[in-house]
């Protein structure tokens, strides 16, 4: 059961929530819609669910337009950020709701609800009311409720957004395992990169009502398609650069411009280096920034080093492995040389300055 989204536009008054979105969610995959708040991801999800109508374009579920179907025929499971459970009903009746309104025989309802409560690991809590459950339990009830009629598509709108960090992490892993069991086409909205990467097969990055990039977590992280994606996924050192003769010039240094379809002409560009791809040396290295250590912060798995460099406005940030940091024994005030191991270059488009790239 695939979802096809074609040329969808949607405005709320003067605000353009979606500005022409094309997207295909392949059957059986778990896809994350990732982006900052206001990027249109929730609006897109609501359109896919049929709760909103697009101004233009259409959504098809496995080739059939959803606009014509009643919600019952559409058979979409949706899990809301704030659970949206029926407070006056027990856990059992919440999960049974979709079957009850379809007037299914009692035995079938009973069997299906017990099966689902087992699936979400809430057996034994049938008679509780939502108010007597923890946030994580409530969200699992909501999920079981959404799955009751064996929907062909499951939609999750920031499902773990209202939960504690700890519970969120557990539920994330649990959701992934569940998906591996039932292989339901799933669309998952989140603004949390870690969550998207941990749970999803594919990530759709959205910004200002448009899709910026679609790919596996690895693809979007390793080969970001735009400065926005580069910045949104983790921290980054950004430099204004100029491409001359296939080489990028930054603050007195020159690097080979990475390969680009169509080649580089002489143009201004943005150069990005991830902190973990910036290597530090005590002695001068080729093509490196001379810098001074400002601050060393151990973060557990890595050590973050903040640097100031005369040739770079706003300073630099590097992330070292603890062993490397130990070997260098850096202290504030030390002189070091920072050499980018890998860099990414994007032509500077009109209106996208380095300081405000839509975040």
């Amino acid at each position: 059961m695939s979802i096809e989204i074609r040329g969808v536009r949607k405005s709320f008054g003067a605000f353009q929530a979606l500005r022409g979105v094309d997207l295909t969610v392949p059957s059986g995959e778990l896809t994350a819609l990732l982006g900052p708040s206001g990027c249109g991801k929730t609006t897109l999800l609501r359109i896919v669910a049929g709760l909103e109508e697009p101004d233009q374009g259409e959504v098809r579920h496995h080739g059939e337009p959803v606009a014509d179907a009643t919600p019952r025929d559409r058979n979409v499971g949706l899990v809301f950020q704030h659970y949206a459970l029926f407070r006056h009903l027990t856990v059992f009746e919440n999960v049974a709701f979709a079957l009850r309104v379809r007037r299914r025989p009692r035995a079938e309802v009973d069997a299906r609800v017990r099966e689902l409560l087992g699936l979400v690991q809430l057996s034994g809590l049938e008679d509780r009311r939502p108010a007597q459950l923890s946030g994580g339990q409530r969200q699992r009830v909501a999920l079981a409720r959404a799955l009751a009629t064996r929907p062909r598509v499951l939609l999750l709108d920031e499902p773990f957004g209202a939960l504690d960090a700890r519970v969120r992490q557990d539920l994330r892993r649990w959701l992934r395992r569940l998906h591996d069991e039932i292989h339901l086409t799933t669309l998952f909205v989140t603004h949390d990169q870690e969550e998207a990467f941990e749970v999803a097969d594919r990530v759709v990055l959205m910004n200002r009502g448009l899709v910026e990039q679609v790919g596996t977590p690895r693809q979007v992280f390793e080969e970001p398609a735009s400065p926005f994606v580069m910045r949104f996924l983790g921290s980054v050192n950004a430099f204004p650069a100029r491409v001359v003769g296939g080489r990028a010039r930054v603050g007195g240094l020159e690097f080979d411009a990475p390969h680009r379809e169509g080649g580089w002409s002489e143009e201004p560009a943005h150069l990005f280096v991830r902190p973990h791809e910036l290597e530090l040396f005590r002695t001068p290295a080729p093509e490196s920034f001379a810098a001074t250590v400002e601050r060393v912060t151990p973060l557990g798995g890595t050590v973050r080093v903040e640097l100031s460099a005369p040739s770079v406005e706003g300073g630099l940030e590097a992330e070292l492995e603890p062993r490397r940091a130990e070997a260098l024994a850096l202290a504030p005030g030390d002189r070091v040389y920072a050499a980018p191991r890998r860099l990414r270059l994007f032509p500077a488009g009109p209106g996208d300055s380095l300081t405000s790239s839509g975040l």
Partner: protein, 276 residues
Amino acid sequence: MSATRRGVLPGFGLSTGLTVFWLGLVVLLPLSTLGLQTARLGPAQLWQVIASPRAVASYRLSLGASLGAAAINAVFGFLVAWVLVRYRFPGKALVDALVDLPFALPTAVSGIALTAVYSPHGWVGRFLEPLGIRVAFTPLGVLVALTFTGLPFVIRSVEPVLADLEPDVEEAAALLGATRRQVFRRVLFPAVLPATLTGFSLAFARALGEYGSVVFISGNMPFRTEVAPLLVMTRLEQFDYAGATALASVMLGASLLLLFAVNRLQRWTRARAGAP
């Protein structure tokens, strides 16, 4: 909270003491004189006063019309609250203000206005008369007056609860395959029922004691359109204080019992509605 265990909130003793003192001063003190006055009658006399056919007829009318009016208000009040919360329309602020008008009007004014409208020559009464429906000077008139004065209670109780319902919940129900009717019956109605009952009991209590708006439209015919509060007034005007308080005690007992029952029902529905 037991006295030995100190609560988190300070001032439990002081605030409770003040509450009891205040309730005693405002509610119990006047009520106790009611009992004292009534006690001046001997048992046989008492029975004669409170069980006289005229008194029983007035209880029946008062209780019946009050229950009827509260029930009508529960249904239509729910509807008005629904419209006020769910829809936007020109003049909504005006409608909103109109709802409170029965509170603000002196009850005698409402009574005179209603009588003018429903009397056989009034604006509405004129058209009802040929149909054989008489409102003024009949028990129906009492019902109309009590419905009028009780209008705001259900609306103002239900409104905030309806407004607080998350749209998420209805969307979830719709996506789960519920029709509009099923969403209403299975999701909205149970959530709003406790508030509707609260409004019902308030409207009922108000109607039981209502006097000003009823006296004009009812015509006050003994055995037919005489409400219990009016009978009490009549006794008072004859300086029969003991008789008046005896009747009042009966009304008081009956309304206490009924309100208690409604409160129990309300608590039960609230627990069922999953409120904390």
